[in-house]
């Protein structure tokens, strides 16, 4: 049985910023209070709508970072240089400010405990956000004292970032893997690895996916999120490696927005 959010019509709601947390030089997490929020599933997103004084509106989608178990809704937003919406969300918002959002949106790129595992998550840059909601959901809904439940849902994250200081949720991922041997996180840095870096230092490729991912014979549930070129290379390579296309779910985000 799968718990589902009731199919009620999605409405625009006024969210209040409770806190703004810097994650990396280019990303911020907004912790929000959203009155009437109906709950969500890990992997879903919201649409954010900003309205200028002259009535001009801009809408963008942002992935939800918080697990369904959290009281506060969290969005992690990357500032895009030419963005219409993200500079406002990352630089001008302060606690107490309000803006419009609607959600939760999307029933395809979602993972709940009954969806099963193993779970193979592949993210690029801020594509980590919906994957982090899945990791957090897995962590907070499986009892810490029940290692068997975790062993049934082993999880691997392959996460591509440009540089070490651009790794979103770096400390939290380290803390989660330190306490949970059934969660593995593998980083690859595409541009500037720190001195002494011994991990991957290249874009995600076939050899890396074959080494880090579960074999196709284990029928892992795969979620890939990141910039369109990364998602397309990863998804087609995984299918080439024998994974069933229906088990490889993707979420591309293009330069004009789309879920990040």
């Amino acid at each position: 049985m799968t718990a589902r959010v009731a199919a009620t019509r999605i409405e625009w709601r006024l969210a209040t910023v409770l806190d703004v947390v810097p994650e990396t030089p280019g990303t911020r997490t907004l912790l929000l209070d959203v009155p009437g929020w109906p709950g969500h599933r890990a992997g879903q997103h919201v649409d954010v709508r900003l309205t200028a004084d002259d009535g001009y509106q801009a809408e963008r989608s942002y992935s939800i970072a918080s697990p369904p178990e959290d009281e506060k809704l969290a969005l992690t937003v990357e500032r895009l240089v030419d963005g219409e919406v993200s500079p406002y969300l990352t630089e001008e918002l302060h606690p107490g400010d309000k803006f419009e959002l609607r959600g939760p949106i999307g029933g395809y790129f979602v993972w709940d405990l009954p969806s099963g595992g193993p779970l193979f998550l592949v993210g690029g840059g801020s594509g980590i956000v919906p994957l982090m909601a899945m990791i957090r959901h897995r962590d907070s809904s499986l009892a810490a004292g029940d290692p068997d439940a975790r062993k049934k849902l082993p999880t691997r994250l392959l996460y591509s970032s440009r540089a070490w200081d651009e790794v979103i949720y770096r400390d939290e991922l380290a803390a989660l893997t330190a306490k949970d041997p059934t969660l593995e996180v593998v980083h690859t840095l595409t541009r500037n690895p720190p001195a002494g870096w011994t991990g991957f230092h290249r874009r995600i490729d076939r050899a890396m996916l074959a080494e880090v991912g579960w074999p196709a014979s284990d029928t892992p549930r795969v979620f890939v999120c990141g910039p369109t070129p990364l998602v397309e290379v990863v998804a087609s390579t995984l299918v080439d490696l024998g994974h069933q296309p229906a088990l490889v779910k993707t979420e591309r985000f293009g330069p004009t927005g789309g879920p990040t």
């Binding site: 509106q57 979602v110 993707t250």
Partner: protein
């Protein structure tokens, strides 16, 4: 919120961006589709009228434009859905879908 601070900056036309980098998944259409259909359509299965294959709507390709979205089949590139929004109307063209099947009752 401070009055007047809510100013989305207008984007200049990104004409130099290739269509490939603008391609999104069906997930990206979920918000716009929710203005027409109450249940989430992206977890539903769509049968393409062009090539007859069936995929989750969330797995289709989406090209988003100022006025709306074009949803295409990844297999044959045929248009499955078109959704446009004007100041007063929502416009849906679904002739590229033989059927869309969603799970009911949950």
């Amino acid at each position: 919120m401070k009055k007047g601070s809510r100013q989305p900056k207008r984007r200049t036309v990104a004409a130099d961006r290739s269509a490939d980098s603008l391609r999104l998944d069906g997930n990206a259409a979920a918000g716009l589709l929710s203005e027409i259909f109450a249940p989430d359509l992206t977890a539903g299965l769509a049968k393409c009228a062009g090539c007859g294959t069936t995929r989750a709507v969330g797995a289709l390709h989406v090209y988003s434009h100022g006025m709306g979205m074009v949803v295409r089949c990844p297999g044959c590139d045929g248009v499955v859905l078109r959704v446009a929004r004007t100041p007063t109307r929502l416009w849906l063209d679904a002739r590229g879908a033989v059927s869309i099947v969603i799970s009911a009752g949950n």
